[in-house]
């Protein structure tokens, strides 16, 4: 059985990862996945490159799937306001279909 759900993707620096996850768990996300990468954005520079003497500056992408699109909006709004206002980072939402809705 397929169910509609919303995927929230947060890109930010590793050093802010913990705060983002705290918000996610507070808002009731049952799971999340994190990937490390590099990137460049309009807010200051970022470590995209090879050597990274300051590893914490790397970009991470945190993906969370939630069932309810309003919960997703709420999470995204809180993240934008609390974690990313004066910091590097973007949040995007997209629609996905998932299975076994009880897991989300």
């Amino acid at each position: 059985m397929k169910h509609k759900a919303t995927l929230i993707s947060v890109m930010t620096e590793k050093v802010f990862e913990e705060e983002v996850i705290e918000v996610l768990l507070q808002e009731g996300a049952k799971g999340y996945t994190i990937f490390e990468g590099g990137g460049n954005g309009p807010f200051h520079m970022h470590q995209s490159g090879h050597i990274s003497v300051a590893d914490e500056f790397r970009i991470v992408k945190i993906e969370v799937i939630v069932l309810d699109s309003e919960v997703a909006d709420g999470i995204a709004t809180r993240l934008m306001e609390e974690c990313l206002t004066d910091r590097p980072g973007i949040v995007s939402l997209s629609e996905v279909d998932i299975f076994r809705a009880q897991k989300f």
């Binding site: 050093v15 200051h44 520079m45 050597i51 300051a54 914490e56 500056f57 609390e82 206002t85 004066d86």
Partner: protein, 341 residues
């Protein structure tokens, strides 16, 4: 005059020492667009082994040391860290095109300590046979932590004062207030200080002589040579970031290592006369001050003052501060010590 000549001689010879040579070699490679890299994980491991080595030796020797002697130098280390940050705030923030928050963050990084530069300084003293107290490595946190804490506190106060009015309100409700305890704890838990402290504890309470002699000591020189290459590459690559920010950062970064080292050298000389702090110890205190943090400092500042521009503080420190400290600071303060004491 003689002193200047002798320093230049020393500097030319210094160019041939592997430490500086490898640093310049790394810069040269990066300047030529080389794709040479040392993997990040290897870099972390190398730093870990260097700090463990320094810590272990400190710990093993401290066992018979008179720790009261540490008090005054430790106090001077704290003082130096604090002076550097205030000085930087006053000097840098006045300059045109420089944001006060960025100025504070930069001063914080220069007040904090570079483990790699410190290791290079120690190897240099060992090579020329200048002795220092067993507990000198324990001075590291006494300068590093106050500088970072002070910079973060001042930085946050500056933001609140100048603060973006529109967002300020909603932010103030949600952001936790500055907790000095938190920042100190965070600093002590960082990977560099942790490795040093772990080494000290193991040196003090266990009998690590066999593993120290067979592993940590023999790898020291080689690992340091590789670290210098990495730092050279990094220094060059960060130059492009430095170009994006006000030129005054570059000026500051040239002067600061010598100025800060000089201040610490002066305080160290006082300790020398008051409690017999060794000349080698004075040199190392000056190197601690002269160096700027490259491992734990940047992420600590990033988390503590997110709106400060890392291009400014990392650029100044890594691209200019550190090479100046290694190329000029280390031989200068060593030479000064042989002349003065």
């Amino acid at each position: 005059m003689d002193a200047i000549l002798s320093f230049f001689e020393l500097f030319l010879k210094g160019l041939q020492t592997p430490t500086l040579g490898f640093l310049l070699g790394g810069m040269l490679m990066a300047a030529m667009g080389s794709r040479l890299t040392i993997p990040d994980q290897v870099y972390k491991f190398i730093v870990f082994v260097l700090l463990m080595k320094i810590g272990l030796r400190g710990g093993m020797e401290i066992r018979n040391a008179n720790l009261e002697e540490l008090l005054l130098p430790a106090l001077f280390a704290v003082l130096t860290g604090v002076i550097i940050v205030y000085l930087g705030k006053i000097l840098l923030a006045k300059l045109p095109g420089i944001n006060v928050v960025d100025a504070i963050a930069t001063a914080g990084l220069f007040g904090a300590v570079s483990a790699s530069t410190f290791a290079a300084g120690m190897l240099h003293l060992d090579d020329i046979g200048m002795e220092y107290e067993a507990w000198v490595s324990a001075l590291y946190p006494f300068m590093d932590i106050p500088a970072l804490v002070l910079a973060i506190v001042l930085g946050r106060l500056a933001i609140e004062k100048s603060g973006s009015k529109e967002e300020g309100a909603s932010l103030k409700k949600k952001r936790k207030p500055v907790s000095i305890n938190e920042i100190v704890k965070e600093s002590l838990q960082g990977s560099a200080l942790s490795a040093l402290i772990l080494g000290l504890i193991l040196g003090l309470f266990t009998q690590p002589e066999p593993v120290y002699e067979s592993f940590y000591l023999p790898l020291f020189r080689g690992f340091l040579s590789i670290l210098m290459i990495i730092m050279g590459i990094e220094a060059w690559q960060r130059l492009s970031e430095l170009r994006r920010v006000a030129h005054w950062y570059a000026v500051y970064a040239v002067i600061a290592p010598l100025l800060h080292g000089g201040i610490a050298f002066g305080l160290g000389a006082i300790a020398h006369h008051m409690t017999g702090f060794s000349p080698g110890g004075v040199v190392l205190l000056a190197i601690l001050a002269s160096s700027s943090s490259d491992i734990s400092g940047p992420p600590t500042l990033r988390a503590g003052i997110p709106s400060a521009n890392p291009s400014a503080y990392i650029g100044s420190s890594t691209s200019i501060g550190t090479p100046i400290c290694i190329a000029i600071g280390i031989p200068l303060f060593t030479e000064l010590a042989t002349i003065v004491f």
